[in-house]
């Protein structure tokens, strides 16, 4: 079985499924640190990728993306490819422009219309200082930049789309559609900021509904063009709408502002026989899980360890999951017993299927190579025995 077949069989709860041995992502800085801690170097991490940026645990869709994926850890442990993201562009495609620049910083507007500030003195990720949508009027102006015709959508497809689609027919790794920034709260927050999004739920609820209706239809138009030619294995809906103590929004807010759009999107995905529909949400998600399931979601990622994966599996035996291993037990001062204890939790869930274990987010720099190696070798060995 190749990585794709393993992914599909596990997510289908097949009795004889082989579980993929895989990791979602690493910080570039983690790989750089691990080289000095014992990870054999096959290929350097590109200098253009900053330490907190991600190196994906998947195979690259094409050579164009080869620098953004892991070339060192996977060969060492003979890991399977993680789900690779099919490239999407949800931006308004406006021209980027610099507003202000001096020796210290540069302020620029990106293709989403977000005003960013980036410091020049150090490796720094841009920080958003203004959003393009502050009210309904801004929203109408913003979406007038979108062209949902076939010609307009074609501009959002990879330049070599037809060849790529043909190549992907014979792939040996799974791919997903969706994810950052697509989601029925995340995209709105991305374009209007947290406060405007959340206050608008009360001040102008029709605006939020209209926003999600617009981007639902846009998504259907956009993804139809992709799905006609590419068979995807999974869909991601990015929400990140919880924190460590619970959900940011209530059931009523979910039902009003998100559920109707989930239902329509999932109806559309079913036309393409897509059954692996995952929500990507950090934080404590217990009260959101039944709402997502009821709306047609079939899986969760990255299943941060603040949630009890064993209890969730017991309560929702058909819910698919990816992630769930607490990265904190791999930090410098952790003991082997702590790592074994955490492995015990994921082993319990592994036996019941529909689950791909990996660290519950991108592997950060405070995970040591020694602890990671101990965890990964034990996990691989357990998977081999199942």
């Amino acid at each position: 079985m190749d990585s794709r077949q393993k992914f599909l069989s596990v997510m289908n709860f097949d009795e004889n499924a082989l579980i993929p041995k895989t990791e979602f992502a690493y910080w570039a800085g983690t790989i750089r640190k691990w080289f000095s801690q014992g990870l054999p170097k096959i290929k350097d991490v590109s200098e253009e990728i900053l330490d907190p940026e991600s190196i994906r645990g998947s195979k690259p869709l094409t050579l164009k993306y080869a620098d953004e994926v892991d070339n060192n850890v996977a060969p060492f442990f003979k890991l399977d490819s993680y789900l690779e993201k099919f490239p999407i562009d949800y931006s308004s495609m406006m021209q980027s422009r610099v507003l202000e620049e001096n020796n210290e910083y540069r302020i620029f507007v990106d293709k989403y219309g977000l005003t960013n500030k980036v410091l020049k003195q150090k490796s720094s990720i841009p920080m958003v200082i203004d959003y393009p949508i502050k009210n309904r009027k801004d929203f109408y102006e913003y979406v007038s930049l979108y062209d949902n015709s076939s010609g307009g959508i074609a501009k959002r497809l990879p330049a070599d789309f037809n060849n790529l689609a043909a190549e992907l027919k014979n792939r040996d790794f799974p791919i997903r559609l969706g994810g950052n920034p697509f989601g029925f709260s995340f995209l709105a927050r991305h374009l209007m900021g947290e406060v405007t999004f959340m206050l608008s739920m009360y001040d102008d609820p029709e605006f939020i509904k209209e926003f999600n209706e617009y981007f639902l239809n846009f998504t259907i138009d956009y993804w139809s063009e992709i799905l006609r030619k590419v068979e995807v294995d999974c869909v991601f809906i990015l929400e990140d709408i919880a924190y460590r103590s619970g959900s940011f929004i209530s059931k009523e807010m979910f039902d009003t502002f998100m559920r109707p759009y989930y239902l329509k999107l999932i109806d559309f995905l079913k036309q393409y026989s897509i059954n692996n529909i995952f929500v990507d949400c950090d934080g404590l998600i217990g009260e959101l899980i039944p709402l997502w399931i009821e709306a047609g979601v079939t899986g969760l990622f990255p299943f941060e360890a603040v949630n009890d994966i064993v209890a969730v599996r017991n309560e929702y035996p058909h819910l698919k999951m990816m992630g769930g291993f607490n990265k904190k037990v791999l930090f410098k001062d952790s003991t082997k017993q702590e790592i074994d204890g955490e492995l015990g939790r994921v082993f319990t869930v592994l036996k019941s299927g529909g689950y791909i274990p990996h660290i519950d987010h991108a592997v950060s720099e405070d995970v040591t190579w020694e602890n990671f190696r101990y965890y990964r070798e034990k996990l691989n060995s357990f998977i081999d025995k199942i």
């Binding site: 910080w27 800085g29 907190p52 410091l119 720094s124 990720i125 920080m127 947290e194 406060v195 959340m198 206050l199 739920m201 009360y202 924190y243 460590r244 103590s245 619970g246 959900s247 940011f248 929004i249 209530s250 807010m253 934080g283 009260e287 603040v306 990265k327 904190k328 930090f331 950060s364 720099e365 405070d366």
Partner: protein
Amino acid sequence: MPSLKEIHDAVASGNYKDIGNLVQGAIDSGETLENIINNALSSAMLEVGDKFGSGDLYMPDMLLAAKAMKVAMEIIKPLLKGSEHLSEKGTVVIGTVKGDLHDIGKNLVITMAEGQGFKVIDLGIDVDFQVFVDAIKEHNPNIVAFSGLLTTTLANIPEHIRAIEDAGLRKSVKLAVGGAPVTQHFADMYGIEIYSPDASGAAKEFLKVLNK
């Protein structure tokens, strides 16, 4: 005359459209500013914070209450000439630590702290330790609060504290820390006086420390 309870309830329910008239009506009828602040506005924000902490209210509810509080204070503040102490319980300098770009938690703490009458100086995200030091010198705060979501950036907090110590400012401020990976143990390890697992609790802890 609008009662203190009506004002309290308007803030607690996020009724920012009516709060202005209610507060103005109470003032016009002779209610003291101190009573309005302490027995209606601040108590309402404490209630909102408690309900958020216990999961009975959600983030949009809290933001709405904060907006109502802001409208009320815009009416009250110009009338406080010489009595600013009635509304300002202290000054908090806050920022997300160096290397970290997350700000939802920090912004919630700001909302709650302002709701309790603190003057808050927001240094933003990815804040270098020297910026904290400069802000302490400029604003003379009672509390300096570090926020961080990433486990990796928590490692920068001792460096921030050292910079404050080296500048001879440590004894003049109380330190606070919060964020998803932060624990009471972490706070204790570095002698940080204030820790709360959530934003609503943080504002309460600020009050407790200043009242000691």
